[in-house]
Amino acid sequence: MSYPTIRIPFGPQHPFHIEPEYFMFEVDGERVVGVKPRIGYVHRGIEKATEDRTFIQNLYLIERICGICSHAHTTCYTQAIEEILGVEIPPRAKFIRTIIAELERIHNHYLWLGLAAHEIGFETLFMYSWRDREIVMDLLELVSGNRVHYAMNTIGGVRRDVTPEIVEKIRKGLDALEERMRYYKKIAMTEPTISKRATGIGILKPKDAIALCAVGPTLRASGIKRDVRADDPYIAYDEIPFNVITYDGCDVISRLFVRCDEVFESVNIIRYAMEHLPEGKIRIKVPRRVPEGEAVSRVEAPRGELIHYAKTSGTTKPERYKVRSPTLGNIPSLCKMLVGGYIADIPIVIAGIDPCFSCTDRMAFVNINNNKQWILSGEELRRYAIKWYRKE
């Protein structure tokens, strides 16, 4: 005997940083059998807005696409414009961009670890990792003057220098961050609270990961060694040795391990960059008018491949500017991961691709057969999930 499936709308009130999403889940009992995504609820029309602003004004607009990977976006933007201008930025600027990019990655991964722990009800880890996140945020503030929108990049270089005193402070901060992440990785490997909720959940097979064009840690946790930093080096990555981390578990815990290990790699990259920091200027002057041309710029943002496309027409404003952030690239894979899983695993699987999930999400459960409807907040769903697992 077969029962009719029930459709559950999920969202769209998700105060994400980049992309709030709405999912329509089709469930059969506790199993998810179908997912349909719908995005665009805070579509701000940034691509259109860039066409109406000068290249310098756009720098500030692009910075505000995301509240976490703001540096990745401006790096991508400045790179594209510098390529069309045909200018090479000073080596010192390249290294400073790299240092900020990696600090940003550490920040993102600490933030993610806390959110993932929160989703599975491991509040202690959430509090601990967010406390330690403050270390890296303080370092970013020390270098740039800002905690979130660093405003370090400008067309032609960077806006602030890294002095020897700052280097010394970063070095101390990195030691603490590395030690803490070692501890968290140990916990993730031994603590049943994590392994029971994250092992074998949200499976994305390598074949599917490629077909669905997954990016970033999500792709690398499916055993595919792809990283823009290594494959298509930009800024100073071709001069700095580092490893591309992969795990082949294809599940949420592999995504966790990938991010833990990437923090260690980032720490090493920053140490190397600070040791080999070239002397010289940090920026060069560039013309305001950009000649006619086009460029495709790629950056490995903390969440994966970020791609910008710029087309210019010889004026002070771009003709067309296109941005594709990594979360959008991972949504088809996310849908694949959710199908076949339990309702209780929805929060952690969604958190697994790192879409900046906030805890004020709302969900509505609709039973289409008798038109009954009930609404769960993200918090209630989280509690439901924890209770559901406790029963077992």
């Binding site: 995005i39 691509e47 259109k48 490629i210 997954a214 460029a295 791609i307 496309y309 594709r324 088809p332």
Partner: protein
């Protein structure tokens, strides 16, 4: 830019060999960046060749650009994480139809829907071209990324005479 671009030039040469004069423009701007504009007639053949035979199996994104009488659709294809090939094809505004590539690369679903939303290109064979970015109730004749729709004009249209 002193790095070698032999491999990139080789890819362009192979494309020219495959579809001949239907490669309308081609450019290697720097190592790992290729731009190729192909005739719409051979678009299906070109993308199949690139994805199946040349291993450009990752679609980074799809961009749509308004270039006057036509819409230029750019497929940013990637090979093994390194070389980024931007395959361009132009479609006339009065007949905005392209075959879908979701049957070859399922990961392109959202990108095609996005281009459909903002520029009105119809991807034939796409399973679901419902709005993905624009809100429900968005006027069906407003394609925000087209040049004729300036920000002021869009504001006037969607907020009923400029008033909220």
């Amino acid at each position: 830019m002193t790095e070698e671009t032999t491999e990139e030039n080789e890819i362009v040469r192979k494309m020219k060999h495959l579809i001949g004069k239907n490669v309308l423009e081609s450019e290697v701007t720097r190592p790992r960046r290729i731009f190729i504009l192909v005739n719409k007639k051979v678009f299906g053949k070109a993308i199949r060749y690139l994805t199946k035979r040349m291993d450009f199996s990752h679609v980074s994104t799809i961009t749509g650009v308004d270039v006057g009488e036509e819409i230029e659709v750019i497929y940013h294809l990637n090979r093994a994480g390194t070389t980024e090939l931007s395959l361009k094809v132009r479609v006339a505004k009065d007949k905005l139809v392209l075959p879908t590539i979701t049957d070859i690369i399922p990961g392109a679903t959202l990108y095609e829907r996005e281009v459909h939303d903002i520029l009105g290109v119809i991807f034939e064979g796409h399973p679901d071209l419902s709005p993905v970015i624009l809100p429900e109730g968005w006027p069906s004749d407003v394609y925000p990324l087209r040049k004729e729709w300036t920000i002021k004009k869009i504001q006037k249209k969607v907020t009923k005479g400029g008033k909220r």
